[in-house]
């Protein structure tokens, strides 16, 4: 299992591995939004938490189809399926590798990019906390979508259509935590809901992902 994680991380940072793809996209979105919104810092700082969350979510989406597609194309997914690793473990490791290469850099970059969106000072901590808590759910849900569409030609579009509705609850509560935090309001309720979504998907979705992957490999 550790070997699989290390292999995926090593592949991600080598040429053509896609590490930094999500981060670059996130950077571009947050740099461009102020140009589009105009010089009104009041408006910008009001929408900053939501923009950061949408940017992070779309950046996450960008690299989802690589989770299983590459292993499927070169045949290693078949070989992994016959290896002494449980399929649930394989999908969990795949989701973890996706989070480390995509989600974690987004979490760490978000406060720095908050400056560009004139995020209120009280918001930095909560943007960081909400993304740290919410991005694992994005990776796990995305892995499920990737398992559903593995083997389909041009499955990327279908994957986005399948996954985006599933992302909505995470986005709502994640952005709500960040917004309330930025405005200095109580964050407990949305924070607990966000944590519930994250831990719930983490506990249940690997089983679903493993099941659909087994069917897709037939």
């Amino acid at each position: 299992m550790i070997a699989l994680l290390l292999r995926d991380l090593r592949l991600a940072v080598r040429a053509g591995g896609g590490f930094g793809l999500g981060l670059a996209f996130f950077l571009i979105v947050t740099v461009l939004i102020p140009f589009g919104v105009g010089p009104e810092t009041g408006l910008l700082s009001r929408i900053a938490p939501g923009v950061l969350w949408i940017g992070a979510l779309l950046a996450c989406l960008l690299s989802l189809d690589r989770i299983f597609a590459l292993d499927w194309e070169d045949g290693s997914l078949d070989l992994l399926a016959t290896a002494p690793l449980p399929m649930e473990g394989i999908v969990t490791i795949k989701a973890l590798a996706h989070w480390i290469t995509t989600g974690l850099p987004l979490v760490l970059a978000a406060p720095a990019l908050g400056v560009l969106l004139s995020l209120p000072p009280s918001g930095y901590l909560w943007v960081l906390v909400s993304l740290a808590l919410g991005t694992p759910a994005l990776s796990v849900i995305g892995t499920f979508g990737a398992a559903l569409t593995v083997g389909l030609k041009r499955g990327g579009l279908l994957l986005s259509i399948l996954v985006l509705p599933l992302y909505v609850p995470t986005l709502i509560f994640g952005a709500e935590v960040a917004r309330r935090g930025a405005e200095g309001l109580a964050v407990q309720t949305p924070l607990l809901m966000l944590a519930g979504i994250s831990f719930g998907t983490l506990a249940l979705l690997p089983f679903a992902s493993a099941a659909v992957l087994r069917i897709n490999l037939r």
Partner: protein
């Protein structure tokens, strides 16, 4: 422990392609599957490897005892030969990759990226993976594709060594490996009869 198949039927896309297949493969023996393209050899091997359920019948002694090698080698082009092989060794909880490197003449290529290897070299690396699985039953689908004569002989030697060590091998191949331990099984007679559905019967 034998790999035993009883009255097996396998299906591709829900349509049976082979049926009524029975054989037993003892340790130290090899079974070579023959049959024209599209006759269901790959489907049979995938079923035995556990990648798809049997349509009917029983398979005994498979599961965790199978090392499967498919048409594609499962290599990562951006990892070196050693990294590729060591990854599979770790997955199968083995540590020694040197015998595999020697057996398939991969010395001197250890630090090359797998993506820069020739087709035959890739294939040799893919087959070397079998030796680091530590599993007794090799299930091989067209293992000699893109291998030159010398490499085929080397591969036959590796299979012979595996059989001598008490392993067994089930191969789908069109060329003669010169294995004394091998029996041939032509799958053509086991071609599944076309199914007539209930609706069709109503028209007959």
């Amino acid at each position: 422990m034998n790999l035993t198949v009883r009255d097996l039927a396998v299906a591709r896309g829900g349509v049976p392609v082979l049926e009524g297949l029975s054989f037993s493969l003892a340790p130290g023996r090899a079974l070579v599957l023959r049959g024209p393209n599209g006759s269901g050899k790959t489907t049979l091997l995938r079923t035995i490897a556990g990648l798809q359920p049997a349509f009917a019948g029983e398979i005994e002694g498979a599961g965790e005892r199978i090392a499967y090698a498919a048409h594609s080698d499962g290599l990562k082009s951006m990892l070196t030969v050693t990294e590729n092989l060591r990854f599979w060794a770790q997955v199968f909880a083995q540590s020694d990759i040197d015998p595999a490197l020697d057996a398939f003449d991969l010395r001197g290529l250890e630090d090359r990226m797998a993506g820069t290897l020739s087709a035959g070299q890739k294939r040799r690396l893919g087959l070397a993976r079998l030796m680091v699985t530590g599993r007794p039953v090799w299930v091989l689908d067209e293992p000699t594709v893109s291998l030159d004569t010398a490499s085929v002989a080397r591969f036959a030697e590796a299979v012979r060594g595996h059989l001598a060590a008490g392993g067994s091998a089930l191969l789908a191949t069109h060329i003669d490996l010169g294995l004394d331990e091998a029996e041939a099984l032509d799958v053509t007679p086991f071609k599944a009869a076309p199914r007539v559905s209930l609706e069709d019967e109503a028209f007959l």
